[in-house]
Symmetry: C2
Subunit: 341 residues, 2 copies
Amino acid sequence: MRSIGRIRVLALLALVVLLTSAPAFAQTDPLPSWNEGAAKKAIVDFVQATTTQGSPGFVPPAERIAAFDQDGTLWVEHPMYTQAVYCLERVPAVVKAKPELAKVEPFKTVMSGNRAAMAKLSMNDLYKILAATLTGMSVETFDAEAKQWLAGAKHPRWKRPYTELTYQPMQEVLKYLRANGYRTYIVTGGGQDFVRAYSEEVYGIPREQVVGTAGATKYGYDKSGTPVLIKEPKLLLNDDNAGKPEGIHLMIGRRPSAAFGNSAGDRQMLEYTTAGGGARLGVLVLHDDAQREYAYGPVKGLPDTRVGTFPQALYDEAVKKGWIVISMKSDWKTVFTFEAK
Amino acid sequence: MRSIGRIRVLALLALVVLLTSAPAFAQTDPLPSWNEGAAKKAIVDFVQATTTQGSPGFVPPAERIAAFDQDGTLWVEHPMYTQAVYCLERVPAVVKAKPELAKVEPFKTVMSGNRAAMAKLSMNDLYKILAATLTGMSVETFDAEAKQWLAGAKHPRWKRPYTELTYQPMQEVLKYLRANGYRTYIVTGGGQDFVRAYSEEVYGIPREQVVGTAGATKYGYDKSGTPVLIKEPKLLLNDDNAGKPEGIHLMIGRRPSAAFGNSAGDRQMLEYTTAGGGARLGVLVLHDDAQREYAYGPVKGLPDTRVGTFPQALYDEAVKKGWIVISMKSDWKTVFTFEAK
């Protein structure tokens, strides 16, 4: 009787395990687009360490901040940053509004459509294009124009809206962190107002959680006396390199517990984040998948394509400091959000 | 039978009303420190209009932002802004660290304790004091020093910590708005990092929801190679007057639905807030209660005390634009948080 009772108990336990634990685990894997491996494990371990009461790495909910670079970390940055495409494609509208610009450089070259000539434009020329396409209008007008462009623009390779070219594994990390009480911030070298135009819809990240390169605005009144904020060609924050931790302090005022990037411009953000006490997570996306996306470094023999460079020194620092380097090729089961839908 | 049934239904209804509605209303008055009147009614009406599904003024939760000036709106600003007291009282510590300053103006005058001489310091002198007491240290050191000072400093009139001199009616408005899905922001002419040192504890407002006058920080490394952000004497945002809506756009990126202030420095913030479409709320606190707090204008014959001035032009604009002017004397049953505890 005793052994039969024991067998029954064991059988019941086995049934319970089969009916609940195993399927429950499979259903609740927060990172289904990730292959099992060191990168996925590091992310899950970090979340457990920082959200388990009594764990030495526990972080109170109010302090749970995770910072994500955008271009090359959350979505495709090749062959050109999306915002750079926006600025170039806005030039015809700017010239239409001010026809005298058609004969003036650099607008003349951009209007010619000559790619080789455009590639030779100086930094000063590019600055003139940025100023003409990103400033001089109200913040609402800029937001509406950016939204309108994004609704129609398509990436040259996938022929899909840029907003569909986000990385599904990173979308899962964003959701996983938020489900565990983290506030997810974008910390981008791109324009703060440009990214705000779509961050909520594309990443579930509200406008106020976008830290980016920011220009001044000027408060005034339009002809009818209505208050208006006009975007000015005056830089307040260059949110790249050292500007990333500086921007984080300015806009958030807390040191993040986790930071995700993919290039030399993210180095200081990862250093600052992981230098804090307790459990910290620094992650770099390595683009080593020419077939499904792009392959560029110049680390590990990958070519230096000059957009989102990942130099050897960054890799060495990552190894030294225990940052996780994600191999897009081997760590990601699925690359794009549109493939997962 | 039919009329008896009807009486029973009415009696039951009356009972239900007595047992639930009336006591429920009394128990859940969100603004118990407010006297009944136009100001209280306007606040309650605004919250109901913007949070009732189907109301023409309905605001989706993601867009519910309310902005509050601090000095004179959330806590006492007389006889001197708390942060100005902090800067003056930090001077001895600064001089102790750099003894050569003891013989240099304006530090010499501050160290003398001669109030009359201190009152004559120039703007340039004051700037030197601000730079010496608010910059040159890491953001963490500054935060710790501000917290330590606040724990010991007391207001000369009430002999209580400054952090207890918040207005109970405004604390209730903050909680009431948050209970209705609003995110409450401080938008202050004071130093962003100074206010962040206590905003969570004092107002339940997290560090990242403080918009204030902000200086640059500089990313670097200390002697041991640890990353550090040093506060620099370089102004990025002067968050007063037109700087308030500009700061709101920079740090939040949304136009608030409601704004609360008390002085000329809040005018543009209220204009910008209430110029948006739908239901909007602009509120100004008028300090007309010399007995319980202070009385200053110069509006309505109240004296111009040059800290937090409320000019006649601001009052006229409030009337014209339908902003609510709170009379501290007649609208507030209780003034201070310490009295309500």
